[in-house]
């Protein structure tokens, strides 16, 4: 049985639809990441699960119980906020105890649980300090701890790492992943950072303009993006997308260059996508005039153009290519994604046979 169940949940503000019929089942122990650009409705969806926004229509079940119109405190959830939202005048201990106190948990038991959570997060030495004496990373730990002591059915995290610097973000990301595996509870995690989503999620829910675009495991959405938006959003550097035409087993890019077409591709206009890392240097292929070479250490990124169209190619480290050079690139036909130019939906190809990802 699903721990959390969203059934055709919608949110409208007057005539504006913020979230359009989201349906999603989350199992116990599963980490779901809601991913999308700002304004896509991911935070609103999370806040509806939390009970901080009313649900316009649809049903929300947590632990099999209909909680659609319950107050946040009655939903068996705990939440971690982007700005930590620690009570500034309370000590860390009091911050972590507050929710338990409000629920009438025995003080001795509450103290025990706070100690245990603090131990787990390595913040025991901070318990008697005030929030403003803490660094961002420490405050984030406390915010996690405050959620942890409550032992809820589901943890809700709203962009919890976006106020941290890059290095700390990576470390906290790992810690959250470990913590989540250890406590084995359902978790819904909102972010706009696709790397965070890829590394943390059991399943990613990609949203745009209030609509779910695709739900799937990280590699599923990476390998088989359901539409042009997902194709462009997942992956870094982002996928090369071209207006093209399929004819005679070839993908003819509008600039005139050709790539091999995947098996089973039908003739006609398409949007063709190929990831920078799927492209490789060949003797004869698409001529790419290199405009810039970005050295990333272990990899080399070529930024260039094919006629009018921009193209990025990610190679293993190469020290010998200079800006201004022309190289030839091509890709395995199975690595070429085709989309309908009108609907922007993925066109089925032979490599999609094992497709398990869910269509939105």
């Amino acid at each position: 049985m699903a721990e959390v169940s969203l059934r055709t949940i919608r949110k409208t503000y007057g005539s504006v639809t913020a979230v359009e019929e989201v349906s999603l089942d989350i199992a116990r122990g599963e980490l779901i990441v809601l991913l999308g650009p700002s304004g896509c409705g991911k935070s609103t969806t999370l806040r509806m699960v939390a009970g901080l926004e009313t649900i316009t229509s649809g049903t929300l079940l947590i632990g099999g119980r209909d909680v659609t119109s319950l107050e946040p405190k009655d939903r068996d959830i705990a939440m971690v906020f982007q700005n930590y939202a620690l009570y500034p005048h309370k000590t860390i201990r009091a911050n972590m105890t507050f929710g338990l106190k409000m629920r009438g948990v025995e003080p001795a038991l509450a103290a025990e649980r706070v100690e245990a959570a603090a131990e787990m997060l390595g913040i025991t030495h901070l318990l008697d300090r005030k929030p403003r004496q803490l660094s961002g990373g420490q405050m984030q730990r406390v915010a996690l701890g405050r959620a942890l002591v409550r032992d809820p059915a589901v943890f809700l995290l709203d962009e919890p790492l976006s106020n941290l610097d890059a290095k700390l973000r990576v470390r906290m990301r790992e810690e959250i992943a470990l913590l989540q595996k250890r406590i084995g509870k359902a978790m819904i995690y909102v972010t706009h950072d696709q790397t965070e989503a890829m590394t943390l999620a059991d399943r990613i829910v990609i949203m745009r303009d209030g609509r779910v675009q695709q739900i799937g495991a990280p590699l599923e959405v990476y390998d088989r993006p359901q539409n042009v938006f997902v194709a462009g959003f997942i992956g870094s550097p982002e996928m090369n997308l071209f207006q093209a035409e399929i004819a005679g087993g070839l993908v003819r890019l509008d600039g005139g260059a050709t790539l091999p077409a995947p098996d089973g591709a039908r003739d006609g206009r398409v949007v063709a996508g190929v990831r920078p890392e799927a492209l490789e240097l060949v003797d004869r292929g698409v001529p790419l005039s290199v405009r810039a070479v970005e050295q990333l250490g272990s990899q080399t990124l070529l930024v260039g153009g094919v006629g009018e169209m921009g193209m990025r190619v990610m190679l293993g480290r190469r020290d010998d290519i200079r800006a201004g050079a022309t190289v030839h690139v091509s890709a395995d036909p199975a690595a070429i994604h085709l989309f309908d130019p009108v609907t922007e939906e993925r066109l089925p190809s032979a490599s999609d046979a094992g497709d398990r990802s869910t269509r939105a």
Partner: protein, 286 residues
């Protein structure tokens, strides 16, 4: 910026302060050591005699107590009502901007107009309040004629005039409380009352400290409301130190005693402010 600019700018401020504030204050204090029957008469040095005289008068202690009651009760009411209105005006509702504007209006009215309007409203024969109460069969209230009613009347007018100050400053402060704190408290299971006491009040404590301090000092020195309504009467029931000081100096022509009262009032207020800051430090002890 030349090296002369800083001293020059500072000098302008320092001279203005000396001439307009420090000088007159010192002059006023110095007057309390002299016996004078008018500001033009020959002063006779009497040392601390005026202070001894003033402190031995029952009317001085009466005025001190009245001042504390007047300031204390009106501040409590202003703060409680002001915060209450601010919380209401913080909620979203139709026409909120208009109501917010109207709520500030009393603060803009000159005291004289507010007081005269109030006096007309409660006029013994023509006042709208008097007539309405009579129509409802209620006994008349002698607003300024009985001792307890007079104190409540001046407090009522003061609260009406200056609650908007508290409402407006507190409402502005409310905008600064991060909304995520309220959301965290909701998730933690705190209802509206607990959210107020666990989030709003602690976060806004420094601002509230200043609001209460400002209102306290202003109310303790407030002269015009009482002067324009009761003039300190009946039989000294609403007479506080500023009124007593004025009456002593300019109605009884004892300038020295009047100055002594004003000086004592100033010292008392300074002590009160000092103790207030000791009790409610502005810097949160971390």
């Amino acid at each position: 910026m030349t090296r002369w600019m800083l001293p020059t700018f500072l000098a302008v401020g320092a001279i203005a302060t000396l001439v307009l504030i420090v000088g007159p204050a010192l002059y006023a204090v110095s007057l309390s050591f002299y016996h004078m029957t008018s500001l033009t008469s020959e002063p006779v040095f009497v040392g601390l005699a005026k202070y001894a005289d003033v402190l031995s008068r029952a009317e001085f202690w009466n005025a001190l107590v009245n001042g504390i009651v007047y300031a204390g009760v009106s501040i409590v009411l202003q703060v409680v009502l002001g915060i209450g209105f601010a919380l209401i005006l913080h909620q979203p509702f139709r026409g909120r901007a208009l109501v917010r504007g109207l709520a500030f209006l009393p603060y803009l009215l000159p005291t004289v107009i507010a007081v005269l309007t109030f006096k007309w409203m409660v006029d013994g024969s023509l006042g709208i309040v008097t007539i309405l109460m009579d129509d409802l069969g209620l006994p008349p209230i002698y607003w300024f004629e009985t001792e307890s009613a007079a104190m409540w009347s001046v407090i009522l007018i003061s609260v009406w005039l200056w609650t908007p100050f508290v409402t407006t400053t507190f409402l502005a402060a409310l905008q600064t409380v991060p909304s995520q704190l309220y959301e965290a408290a909701r998730v933690d299971g705190a209802g509206p009352v607990r959210r107020f006491f666990h989030v709003t009040l602690p976060v806004l404590r420094p601002i509230l400290t200043v609001i209460i301090l400002l209102r306290g000092v202003w109310m303790f020195n407030k002269f015009d409301v009482i002067w324009l309504t009761t003039g300190g009467g009946p039989i000294g029931a609403t007479e506080h130190l500023p009124i007593l000081s004025y009456r002593t100096a300019f109605a009884l022509f004892d300038i020295g005693a009047g100055a002594a009262i004003a000086t004592i009032s100033f010292l008392f207020l300074s002590l009160a402010v000092f103790l207030y800051f000791r009790a409610f430090p502005m810097e949160d002890d971390a």
